[in-house]
């Protein structure tokens, strides 16, 4: 087992889940309707819980405990893609991000459920079952709002164009890409991206939204290598504000 490759993979997935879970939780009390408050809160709990499980797996591979890993690192030590750290913006932005992200994650964990690293394959089966509801939620809303009023369609269209370069940043390749594929730990970002594009196209085709031409989109990369936007460090500072009062204390 190529341990550095495996750890790099686990870190980037766990960090994605933690940071987007954190952003989803910021909708608590602010949703456009109570049902959406509740839905984003459910997804936040799932995602933060999933990140915790992956950090626990990293702990068994010799990394520090999940609380220390999540609450004590700086932005440049995080491997999440930049898309998940962007502020929530308006509901259309959060919804489109949720749709593009969870469509990819559902495929990612489906691929990982066949990983040669058995603990990862096992947990991926469980996570896949949870993500089914996230994609169901995203698809329902994108189809509804993407075909409803002039305002809802134009808002979603604008957000789709705005988020897409960041969405492609999800598939930034790992320095261990070949090893991961060769050792059958993970089928690779390129394969994931191709399946994701087809899925996104299929859903968008059921709306009045227009997908931008894939070839014209310039992906925003860097997150996987610890190069982040200005939004991540303030998020982390807020997240660790109480924890850092005394990191040795039990809260």
């Amino acid at each position: 087992m190529n341990e550095p490759a495996l750890k790099e993979l686990l870190y980037k997935i766990a960090d994605d889940q933690l940071i987007l879970g954190h952003r989803n939780s910021e909708w608590t009390g602010f949703g456009p309707l109570l049902e959406e408050d509740i839905a984003f809160s459910s997804m936040a709990q799932d995602k933060v819980g999933q990140s915790h499980a992956l950090y626990q797996m990293l702990e068994t591979l010799g990394e520090k405990d999940p609380d220390t890993v999540a609450f004590m690192r700086n932005a440049d030590q995080f491997h999440n893609c930049i898309m998940v750290e962007l502020p929530n913006g308006e509901y259309d932005f959060s919804l489109i991000r949720h749709f593009l992200y969870d469509t990819a994650e559902a495929i990612r964990f489906e691929m990982l459920s066949e990983s040669s690293y058995q603990p990862l394959a096992d947990i991926s089966k469980k996570i896949r079952a949870e993500l089914r509801y996230h994609t169901l939620h995203a698809n329902t809303w994108v189809k509804q709002l993407g075909s409803a009023t002039e305002e809802s369609i134009s808002r979603l269209q604008r957000s789709l164009e705005q988020v897409m370069p960041y969405a492609l940043g999800m598939f930034e390749e790992s320095p261990y890409e070949k090893e991961l594929i060769g050792d059958k730990i993970f089928g690779g970002e390129q394969a994931l991206k191709e399946r994701w594009m087809k899925k996104v196209e299929a859903i968008i085709a059921q709306t009045q939204l227009q997908l931008p031409d894939w070839k014209t989109i310039q992906p925003v990369m860097g997150g996987r290598a610890g190069k982040h936007s200005e939004y991540l460090q303030p998020l982390l500072d807020e997240m660790s504000e109480v924890f850092k009062i005394d990191p040795t204390a039990e809260w």
Binding site: D37, Q45, D67, Y91, A249, E250
Partner: protein
Amino acid sequence: MYGGGNTFEGIKTDSIAQEDPVKLAEFEARIERGEKIEPTDWMPALYRKQLIRMIEQHAHSEIIGALPEGTWITRAPGFKRKISLMAKVQDEVGHGQLLYSAAETLGKTREQMIDDLISGKSKYSNIFNYPAFTWADSCFISWLVDAGAIVNQLANAKGSYGPYCRALDRICAEESFHLKYGHHCVIYLATGTQKQREMFQEAINRWWKPMMHFFGPSDKISAHTEVLMRWKVKMSSNDDMRNQFLDMYVPKIWELGFTIPDENLKKNPDTGRWDYTEPDWEEFKRVINGDGPCNKERLEVRRIAEERGKWVRQALKKAQTKYTVPLA
């Protein structure tokens, strides 16, 4: 979460005289026998009006109450607390949803209720007009404010209106987990570092006054609500609920080695009830009528959320969709 007691003003009973005396007598007999009143049953106009008012205020308290605690979700120290607090605040919003549905069975839509909340026409629990400055404040809310809410809600769950009682049964079951979560957080602060203990002591010092206000004005100065007691709309007096809360929680706070900022607080061996410094009811009135530390901020957040979400709600409407009263 919800503080009762503060919802009733003087009741004008004139309208009762205009009700059909036979139907009224039958209605009162049913309540007397412990039966539940259901949405399609006959009920006096005053009963309907007071119930809408009470359930609506309760619903508002849930969603406004999600705000002071909600701000601590993104700061909760460690995975265990972060996930638990998310689930807890989510429950509160869910309670709001459940209660708006219960109130809708009486004929007022959720939209009308939220409009009245934002315009200031209808009220919510006074305690949420105070700020949660520290993590320890959020722990105080989760443990003790929820404890107070349970005292109130368990009483109301024995009331006469079916949909409200059923909503409260579900709510109380969830609140009991909140209480455990809050107590667990406080035990960790109490048995932790000196800094952690200080944080919780300061939270008690800040929150004791609003906590005493929570159950509403003293019975001596409360409006007369006999008819609402007879109809099982109001189930317990403010002072009785306050006393019950003190009985259950003051010993627990003292046991953890904290002090309570009221030198007159003690159990009176002659009456079996708690003596305490009379809360400042003028301040209570001032805050509930809009002049508290956070009233403007809380309503502004709600107003902005409604405004920003308007296009989403409009996009959900279709001309052929007909409004239906929810089942409860």
